[in-house]
């Protein structure tokens, strides 16, 4: 399971594919202030990425994957 949607936080792991975007959008819309952990994420499909950006999420943890972090860290800190 690439995203585990828990009560207060979503844990991303491995490759998050395009299918996840819908569920993620719903989950983030349900309750404001939910947390997102990207630590174990190795790739994020832009559909899900758009959802995170649109929800103005600042992930609690950034990916360990260095190339993914290089893309995402400046993006989320500017967002």
């Amino acid at each position: 399971m690439p995203i585990r949607l828990l009560k207060t936080r979503a844990a991303f792991a491995g490759v998050v594919s395009v299918e996840e975007a819908d569920a993620l959008q719903g989950w983030l819309g349900e309750k404001p202030g939910r947390r997102v952990d990207l630590k174990r994420c190795t790739h994020l499909h832009p559909a899900s990425l758009q959802v995170l950006l649109s929800a103005h999420i600042r992930p609690a943890t950034m990916p360990d994957d260095p190339t993914l972090a290089a893309w995402l860290v400046p993006l989320f800190s500017a967002n």
Partner: protein, 758 residues
């Protein structure tokens, strides 16, 4: 629109435009000398129509506008509502000169140019369009919805951050901006994945995050993000990586400027001096604050250009706004005279220098192709030579015969025959090799369809997915190139008339996205192209009504036709069912032009359609036009050739089998009644066909498009592979022959063109 330095689509458009404009000029000239010539009129109209359609693919509103006006004028003339006068011709020629001038400009600069050039074009276009419309009696009004001119492209503006990163890196880099198509997720694309794996990325960022709608309104499956990167990889590597999305990538090289790069330094110094003057102004104008922030922004950009991060700049700007501009002036001075120890590295290329022609700054792609470009004339000459070689080879068996019969030397004859076998093998291989040189994959034509389908369907508010199959199927260059025009017509027709709007489709229980499939494959020595759509299909009832309305058939004939025959009426000249004239299709020039183009290539078009579920078109074409297999016939002591692909069977005909129906002589063969024609009659030879001792004649059953005809000839000879030479001089005007070739004994063999024979 994303702009890449050399757009292959644009290059293709320009090459075609040149041809089209040539044709347009020629037809206008024909019409000037022979006004009202319908063939020239139709051809002229078709050319202008095609040209307009092509121009619509690019942001060339001025060109489209003029062509649309010209097309409207020609349509009136074609329908006989207007007689073509000298004034018309003058204005049309002026309009075409304008279009070709624009094309020439596009060809040299890769785009139309800066804002000023746009305005000049728009002005000229408006004047020409007005002139054309005044002549067509519309009082100079333009009823055309020309797409609003988008802001002109100003090259690629490389963001300051990228410039700074490039300066830090110091080596030669490419800046890329990849803006994926909005609907790319539906094709299974992951543009982020593509961007992440770009070779040798040294700097990257994701753009478009700020413009995203709020979470509730976001459609996550429309890609709104873009990607910017600096890559140290060679251009070829980048292009290979983005090979499926190159049209969505804007690219420009950034080269580290040499320390003695005089021009850039001079420009930089000038810009800095200007900022210095602005900052130093001491007046108390109410716009002082805005002026200072603007100057501050420019200084920030210039600092990035110099590779100086200028961390003290924001503070200095704030101080300047508060009234103390000393700090800002100090920064400007520091930038203007870099310390000799700091290696001055400036990014050149598309830097915001005050150049009025941003494209010139972008260096063209170097060519990495490991292939040889050869003038087509040279290949054609090789082809001609091998044709002569084949003829010379065919003479050897005759020579062997003579050696044996005339000189009585059987050994000599045998030796000649064995030599013939060797030469035969070599020439056949050579012929094959030369044919292969001329072979091109259909992808050459297919590659522009995704863009075409996307643009056209978007314009029409339809949702269509294009599926291409068998793109590597090969055929002769001449065939492939000639296919482009008819295929574009077919696609436009299908998109315009075939597909329903997404709402209609949903209402009919179909998926909202239509599917248009083009499949190419080879079958024997033919190439087959299947174009299938899942649109509304062709409604035979509507076709019958329209055909009767247009006077193409009378009501009784239309009524008697079955549905399959009725839909074939769309191939009739002048048939069009579109209610509104759009700039895509719907003037009835499409399908008859398609059929004649395909038939000119010795091909066939087959159409089938199921109302409500779609249309299927099959184009069958020869793989090559260079070599034709012919059957040699005898008529009145002369030899003629008939292409074998038209021959269904050769048979004997007993005079007792002939039945008279009215004045026609017919024969019943395989449950079909076939009309009988005598080849001698058709060729105007006043001699009856030979009847042999058993009272029988030789009969050739041939297929001519939809019809099957029985031809009576004097006799049959062998079949031959020949390379046809077009007839020249007086003979060129005789349509009954498609060409000529030489037999092995030196005799000339005329190849019949059965379509024109009847």
């Amino acid at each position: 629109m994303i702009h890449s330095p050399i757009n292959p689509l644009l290059a293709q458009f320009l090459a075609e435009a040149e041809e089209l404009l040539e044709g347009i000029g020629a037809q206008i000239m024909v019409l000037e000398t022979r006004p009202g010539e319908p063939a020239a009129m139709n051809e002229l109209f078709r050319l202008v129509h095609t040209m307009k359609g092509n121009s619509g693919l690019f942001d060339l509103p001025a060109m489209t506008r003029v062509l649309h006006a010209a097309e409207d004028l020609l349509d009136k003339v074609r329908q006989g509502k207007l007689a073509l006068t000298r004034d018309h011709v003058d204005t049309l020629l002026a309009a075409m000169d304008f279009v070709s001038g624009m094309c020439a400009q596009l060809a040299t600069r890769g785009e139309v140019g800066a804002q000023a050039a746009h305005e000049v074009h728009d002005g000229a276009a408006a004047a020409l369009a007005q002139g054309l419309r005044a002549l067509s009696g519309e009082g100079g009004q333009e009823d055309v919805a020309v797409p609003a001119a988008p802001p002109p492209e100003q090259g690629i503006d490389v963001p300051a951050e990228a410039m700074a990163a490039a300066a830090r890196h110091g080596g030669a880099l490419h800046f890329l901006r990849y803006q994926p198509e909005e609907d790319c997720f539906f094709r299974g694309d992951d543009p982020f994945h593509t961007a992440r794996h770009t070779p040798q990325v040294v700097w990257q960022r994701i753009i478009g995050a700020r413009a995203l709608p709020a979470l509730g309104e976001l459609d996550p499956y429309r890609c709104l993000l873009g990607f910017e990167m600096l890559s140290a990889a060679p251009l070829a590597g980048i292009e290979a990586h983005f090979r499926y999305a190159m049209d969505r990538v804007a690219l420009c090289p950034l080269t580290p400027a040499a320390a003695d790069d005089g021009l850039d330094r001079a420009v930089l110094a000038e810009a800095l001096a200007a900022q210095r003057r602005i900052v130093a102004l001491t007046d108390d104008a109410p716009w002082r604050a805005a002026r200072l922030s603007a100057a501050g922004a420019v200084v920030a950009n210039l600092a990035a250009l110099c590779g100086d991060p200028a961390p003290d700049l924001p503070e200095a700007c704030a101080a300047a706004l508060a009234g103390n501009s000393d700090a800002l002036l100090a920064i400007i001075d520091r930038l203007a005279s870099p310390a000799p120890s700091a290696a001055p590295v400036a990014a050149a290329a598309a830097a915001p220098a005050p150049a009025d022609d941003p494209v010139d700054a972008v260096s063209p792609h170097p060519s990495h192709a490991r292939s040889l470009r050869v003038d087509q004339g040279k290949i054609d000459r090789l082809m001609g030579l091998i044709g002569e070689m084949v003829v010379a080879r065919n003479a050897l068996p005759f020579l062997a015969q003579r050696a044996e019969k005339v000189y009585g030397n059987r050994d000599m004859a045998r030796e000649i025959k064995s030599q013939h076998a060797v030469i035969n093998r070599v020439t056949e291989e050579m012929q094959d090799a030369i044919m292969r040189i001329r072979m091109m994959p259909v992808s050459v034509v297919f590659q522009r369809f995704p863009r075409l389908v996307r643009d056209v369907s978007r314009k029409l508010g339809k949702d269509v997915e294009l599926v291409l199959e068998g793109e590597d199927t090969e055929a002769d260059k001449a065939i492939i190139e000639a296919l482009a025009d008819p295929l574009i017509h077919i696609l436009r027709n299908s998109l315009d008339h075939g597909f329903e709007t997404p709402a209609e489709r949903r209402a009919n229980g179909k998926p909202a996205t239509g599917r248009l499939t083009i499949r190419a494959h080879q079958e024997g020595d033919r190439i087959l192209l299947d174009i299938t759509d899942d649109g509304r299909g062709i409604d035979p009832v509507r076709i019958r009504t329209k055909a009767v309305e247009k006077g193409l058939v009378d009501a009784a004939t239309a009524e008697a036709m079955d549905d399959a025959a009725a839909i074939q009426l769309i191939f009739a000249a002048g048939f069009s069912t579109a209610e509104a004239i759009s700039d895509l299709s719907g003037r009835g020039v499409g399908m008859d032009a398609v059929r004649s183009a395909i038939e000119a290539l010795h091909g066939d078009v087959a159409l089938s359609s199921t109302t409500g579920s779609g249309t299927h078109l099959r184009l069958t074409l020869p793989l090559s036009m260079a070599v034709t297999r012919v059957l040699v016939l005898e008529a009145a002591g002369q030899l003629f050739a008939m292409p074998v692909d038209m021959v269904i069977e050769t048979t004997r005909l007993s005079t007792s089998e002939i039945r008279g129906i009215k004045t026609e002589r017919t024969i019943l063969r395989r449950d079909r009644i076939l009309p009988i024609r005598e080849l001698n009659d058709l060729l105007g030879i006043p001699r009856p066909a030979r009847i042999d001792d058993d009272g029988e004649q030789s009969l050739l059953v041939a297929r001519l498009g939809e019809n099957v005809v029985a031809l009576v000839v004097d006799g049959f000879r062998e079949t031959l592979d020949v390379i046809q030479k077009p007839l020249t001089g007086v003979l060129a005007g005789i349509p009954a022959y498609s060409g000529a070739t030489l037999m092995g004994d030196g005799a000339v063999l005329l190849v019949l063109n059965p379509r024109m024979l009847l």
